[in-house]
Symmetry: C2
Subunit: 335 residues, 2 copies
Amino acid sequence: MRVVTIKDVAKAAGVSISTVSRVLNDRRDVDAGTRARVWAMIRQLNYVRNQSASNLKQQSTSAIGVILLGRRNSFLTALAEEIMEAGRGSGFVFVMDILDEKANPILAARRLFLERRLQGVIFLGANLEGMDGQLATLELPQVYATVQAGHLPYAHIASVSIDNYRAGRMAARRLMDLGHRDIALMGYFAKADDSTGQRLHGAVDEMREAGHPHDPALFAEVNFTLPSAYAGAISLLDSGKPFTALFACSDIIAIGAIKALHDRGLSVPGDVSVIGFDGLESGRYTIPELATIRQPSLEIARTAVRLLRGMIEGAPAEHVLLDCELVEGQSLRAL
Amino acid sequence: MRVVTIKDVAKAAGVSISTVSRVLNDRRDVDAGTRARVWAMIRQLNYVRNQSASNLKQQSTSAIGVILLGRRNSFLTALAEEIMEAGRGSGFVFVMDILDEKANPILAARRLFLERRLQGVIFLGANLEGMDGQLATLELPQVYATVQAGHLPYAHIASVSIDNYRAGRMAARRLMDLGHRDIALMGYFAKADDSTGQRLHGAVDEMREAGHPHDPALFAEVNFTLPSAYAGAISLLDSGKPFTALFACSDIIAIGAIKALHDRGLSVPGDVSVIGFDGLESGRYTIPELATIRQPSLEIARTAVRLLRGMIEGAPAEHVLLDCELVEGQSLRAL
DNA sequence: CTGAAAGCGCTTACAG
DNA sequence: CTGAAAGCGCTTACAG
């Protein structure tokens, strides 16, 4: 395929490439007639600017990177859209990159920065565990969304999230208030900096302090997929340990678990009360509607954009904790 | 942020930039000792290659573009992953771009081509209606996945999909075989080249030929989101026209509709039988499990990659129609 | 308002 | 095995 370059356009329009470039970049110091002629040729030749060349030369852009870890995490993909929405009209261009959970987000951010001359980066769902050294090497304004990073002493690193530990406590507290004592937990107890682990640690601590310590046999380690959640719930049931309530640290996990309970003849909430986490849209369309801890995704999105803009303009990094909300749904029942 | 370039690495390692470039590109004509020294500096300086510069210079790459229309279409996002999976080990690099339904995929493909020197493009969910002219201007091997393009006379355009029209007939036939006559339809009757419209047209034709013509009052136009599907089903119920079965032209639509039926006190399949379309994973975790027309997504993915590789190596374009399968689930009932 | 020229960071023949 | 040089397609001071 023959590639049309700025040179071809210049020749066809009878001007220099400088002028074509000015037209392309909407500079006003071009004669109206010239501009029209150049645009006509751009269209006629189907010219599209070579971004690589443009980026290479351009000293600064207004691009912001959005790096999402976990392509199947519905909460994060929805959050990414809300961030783009929140940034609309701000003059920033968002460049999104979706990575595997296991990928290295810092490396991805660096690559994106070099490719697109980013002004800053928003990370969604990044796990900060053990990355302290690398964080320092990416000297770019960064916002970690959904992840608590308040302990990081870097002036260019901000964060916005809920208090996952307290949210975990809230879920357990609600189940205990309803009279439940045998409470199963699903998710994974990861490292300290992991949101998921913090939710579970919160629940365990709340139960212990209430005098109803969690039985480790009532824990299933699963990832954020339906099949994994289904299998985890089945293994809990097969273990023979009875439970009357279940706290899943994501709505997807809760949905998979509810199906497993149903397939084993147990009703929700008749036999088992279930509460999820995130507040996904799809949880409002399940039967029964899912009780959950709703993360305020719109507010997280808006705050992330605000924090990043602030840092780009020289403001210091902030670490914002937002409130989350317990949504009752129809999957809870008092004993 | 200070950017480390190939020049810095060259100086630090005491070699020319040519040599650094050779090391970066894994050429074998570099002394082992030199190579080690250069790599050490690359790591020490945290050097990452500037892709823009690299792309600009490079005459050819082995990149394939994957352009997805509709970021909330779960079927397509899953398909995109399967395509990347199918291409693993093929030596191709996949560059994905996710667009709005309304965006122009040809423009996006052209931009990606110029940015990344693509060898070819796979489109997912593109609507070909009225784009014939533009298709010709993108002289790059192209595969349209999930969309029938057999009528397009271009040597560089292939396609792989199911026969959406026949699939629509299949769904209607099954409902009629179960004794249903009052069948509601949900989706949109778009233009001729639209997969969704073809499904509905197939259902309508099948019903007419069976002597049970579809009542236009039993149609709700909705898009592929849960709230839209919910509202559409409510409006069908409010219209007062009774129906005992519903064909939704995507599983997401079916799930939203089932929730609406439930909220109005109707049980599925007790009062209304529901069949969806696509065969999403999440449809296997609903209660009841969703009957659906399953598109063979893995086979679509593999075929798309195979067709594109073939064209890149000079093979002629093919248009492949794959079989789809009716999955019974638990949401159908005989009258 | 317009053009000639330098240069962004790479890769790649070409010489040696 | 290695380096000097040309050039990819743009943008942007600098002159006029």
